[in-house]
């Protein structure tokens, strides 16, 4: 991408006394140049798409990037169709960029490491003049980049991050999350589990030994125990573990009849594969069929685990088989462009970009504080999850959560999950204060 008109620089350039190739240096402090960090004053605006391009989540990152490119096409009105802009309840966006400025973007690699993610985000802010950073595929990265954006004075629209912390104890005024979280997973899953497996169950948790694992374990434990389940044990597994046999082998001895795998990504693929290998699902314990539950599902994980996911319950933010207008519109434009249906990561990133653009349009300014104000307590529909609220108190979206099950007879490599229930928003809503943390004030930067 050529950036012929970096707006921030445009200001600087106009300030510089240029003559016949020689110039008298003029010194500016950042303060005097703009009202807020990276204020776009030219004919274009730059967004920063910061996704994992290397490392275990690279495929998820690639799907996020596809969604971002599609969103940019739709915002600029250069795509084959207009995707969710047709179904989005807010009609502020015109398909001529944001506030009439053409949307350009830069990409970076988070490597799923908070250091690399921050380095990449900083280069987008400092070098490329990005006015908004979005993306990511893990909570550690999301929290780190969100804190950076708060300091730098740009908006952060989180990508895939499921930990309660992102909008809980680590929430920031400049950060917004559309994706759901551990608490919602637990609240949505528990009733379905009770309906299908009964209320007299003994659960055994295997939990990845880091923040996301803890919050997920906590959420599922609390909500299943409220249904009458008993938690036999919760064992922490190292993040770097690849073979889970020594954690799974003792499960049957404990007398548990449900195994909950609070794992994500490669951990989940391996632990589920191992659990199925041990034949746990063929066993009869306490005169009940032994069952496995995976609180957070993604299509890529389901693909990695293959046939092992069949019949296993979990939750997900969104799924392409949803029949509402918004989802259909998105699946159609994504599928037409790329030849396969989008993942939930792609969906949340696409929606976040549109929501940001819409908020800017409605606020009439790229100023992070104005954008934040426009997003706070914003209610919208037509983005695939039904009526949704961007809660102002913690910058978390509240919307329907999907409970899904591994499909018994998939018709294609993308058709791995089937929707069991769409849990209504009310059931997964919680009080904004329960996770602690301070939102603070919005920071427009310099």
């Amino acid at each position: 991408m050529t950036k012929t008109n970096m707006s921030r620089r445009g200001v600087l350039k106009s300030g510089a006394v240029a003559g016949a190739g020689l110039a008298v240096p003029t010194i500016f402090t950042a303060q005097s140049a703009a009202a807020y960090t990276n204020e776009p004053t030219g004919s274009s605006v730059t967004l920063g798409f910061n996704v994992p391009q290397t490392g275990p989540y690279a495929d998820e990152g690639a799907d996020e990037l596809r969604a971002y490119q599609l969103a940019v096409e739709h915002l600029n009105g250069t795509g084959a169709d207009n995707g969710m802009l047709e179904t989005f309840s807010s009609k502020a966006l015109q398909g001529n960029g944001i506030l009439g400025k053409k949307v350009e973007y830069v990409t970076g690699d988070t490597q799923t490491k908070s250091d690399a993610a921050r380095a990449s985000a900083r280069s987008m802010i400092e070098k490329d003049g990005a006015v908004m950073i979005t993306g990511g595929s893990s909570s550690g990265v999301a929290v780190a980049v969100q804190a950076l954006c708060q300091e730098a004075g740009v908006i952060f629209m989180a990508g895939l991050t499921h930990s309660n912390d992102t909008t809980g104890k680590d929430k920031k005024a400049n950060g917004f999350r559309h994706f759901f979280n551990s608490y919602m997973s637990g609240a949505a899953l528990a009733p379905i589990l009770a309906n299908n497996y009964g209320t007299d169950r003994k659960a055994y948790h295997l939990t990845a030994d880091y923040n996301w694992g803890y919050t997920t374990e906590e959420a599922v434990k609390t909500s299943t125990e409220a249904m009458g389940w008993e938690t036999v044990a919760a064992v922490r597994t190292p993040l770097t573990q690849t073979d889970f046999s020594s954690y799974i082998a003792p499960v049957l001895q404990s007398g548990a009849d449900v195994l909950v795998l609070n794992h994500y990504g490669g951990n989940m693929v391996n632990s589920l594969t191992n659990a199925v290998q041990f034949g746990l699902r063929d066993k009869l314990v306490n005169n009940k069929n032994f069952e496995i539950v995976v609180p957070l599902y993604s299509r890529l994980m389901a693909k990695g685990a293959g046939a092992n996911v069949k019949g296993i319950y979990g939750s997900t933010n969104w799924h392409w088989s949803l029949q509402d207008e918004g989802s259909q519109a998105f699946v159609r434009s994504f599928g037409t462009k790329y030849g396969f249906p989008p993942s939930q990561a792609a969906h949340t990133c696409y929606v976040q970009t549109l929501l940001y653009a819409d908020a800017v349009q409605r606020a009439g300014s790229f100023n992070p504080c104005a954008v934040a104000e426009a997003l706070e307590d914003f209610e919208f529909d037509g983005m695939g999850n039904g009526k949704t609220l961007y809660r102002g108190a913690d910058h978390q979206c509240f919307k329907d959560v999907l409970v899904v099950k591994g499909k018994e007879n998939p018709t294609s490599e993308f058709d791995l999950l089937e929707i069991v229930e769409v849990t209504p928003t009310a059931q997964v809503t919680y009080d904004a204060s329960i996770f602690g943390g301070e939102l603070g004030a919005c920071n427009p930067g310099t």
Partner: protein, 343 residues
């Protein structure tokens, strides 16, 4: 009691994977004096041999099924593997089902070839270079190899199931008189253990009882003298490298059903296999095998609930803790020779 038997079983199985990888690593080090950081990549390539064979067997042509529609509402295209056309659906299905064991046959020539090319093309220029240079160049190679695999196969793990016949688990507990379901172990992992034992045995027999093995062992002890005797030790070393690559590759092929292969599985195993080799003693084959099983069993015990409750976090650090203790009590690992890799 049953819990302990179970974890010993577990440890043996884990250890057999460690031992197999470490065996090839220490073989290369012992014979060629090269620290091969690309060994994990060889293991990974082995696993991807299984994936590739599966892909080849499921090569398909598309048939349009007008009665069904895909996600965009167009008529569904159904993939029909060519093996179905050739052998009929039932036979074709069972060929695909058995693709992992079949991949052994496929992997041996591939891995030997990869090993020989690596040795002739790169490693042989590094015999006289410092170990740090060897580490760096093979590390660079490992990165390139895994990125190539990532380019073609993506970053996501690819499920590569074992044949239907090996699904499920075997109930040792019932056999030994414990309650049913207390000591169960998956069939495929038992196969893996036996396979590893077989390969390890074969390598030892090969080195101990064949002329070739004798010459190689002599070369390991004193390369120069063997060269002076007029024996072309270089050629034999090339073959040894191919052999070590094949061992790593086979370990990978058989590992594919245990954990779905991904492009970074080699790096995941690299550090661990080095710890195993060093704990066993650089260049010692029995040391590597013993250390592999030892660390496997200890790791299994450390992951028991009761143990974690007693020493929190022990499962996170056990391997490294054991390595430190062993290296401090036995200066050259379990069975290392003096003067090897100490400068």
């Amino acid at each position: 009691m049953d819990a302990i038997i179970l974890q010993i079983l577990n440890g043996l199985d884990k250890g057999s994977a460690y031992a197999l990888i470490a065996l090839g690593l220490t073989l290369i080090f012992g014979t060629l004096g090269v620290v091969n950081f690309a060994h994990g990549a060889l293991f990974m390539i082995g696993a991807f041999c299984a994936v590739t064979l599966n892909r080849i067997l499921t090569l398909s042509h598309q048939v349009v099924d007008p009665t069904r529609t895909d996600f965009l509402g167009n008529p569904m295209k159904v993939d029909v593997p060519y093996v179905f056309d050739m052998f009929g659906e039932a036979a074709g299905q069972s060929i695909i089902d058995w693709s992992v064991p079949l991949a052994i046959l496929f992997a041996i020539p591939v891995m030997v070839l990869v090993g020989v090319i690596m040795e002739r093309g790169l490693i042989k220029f590094f015999y006289k270079r410092p170990h740090a240079d060897q580490i760096l160049v093979t590390f660079g190679l490992a990165i390139v190899l895994q990125e190539i695999i990532k380019y073609y196969y993506g970053a996501n793990p690819i499920p590569t199931p074992a044949p239907e016949a090996f699904k499920g688990s075997f109930d040792f507990g019932a056999m030994l008189g414990f309650d049913p379901n207390t000591i169960i172990y998956p069939y495929w992992r038992l196969v893996y253990f036996c396979f590893a034992a077989l390969i390890i045995g074969a390598v030892f027999v090969f080195l101990q009882f064949t002329t070739f093995g004798m010459v190689v062992r002599a070369g390991m002890a004193d390369r120069e003298t063997v060269g002076l005797l007029g024996i072309d030790i270089d050629k034999r070393f090339t073959i040894m490298f191919g052999l070590a690559a094949a061992v790593a590759g086979l370990a990978g092929v058989m590992y594919a059903p245990i954990n779905a292969p991904n492009y970074h599985m080699g790096m995941d195993f690299l550090v661990l296999s080095f710890v195993v080799v060093v704990v066993g003693g650089m260049g010692s084959l029995p040391g590597a095998v013993a250390a592999g099983f030892l660390l496997g069993i200890l790791e299994s015990f450390a992951s028991m609930r009761e143990v974690i409750a007693f020493i929190p976090g022990i499962n996170q650090v056990i391997i490294y803790l054991v390595a430190i203790i062993i290296l401090l009590t036995r200066p050259r690992g379990l069975m290392g020779r003096k003067g090897v890799m100490e400068d």
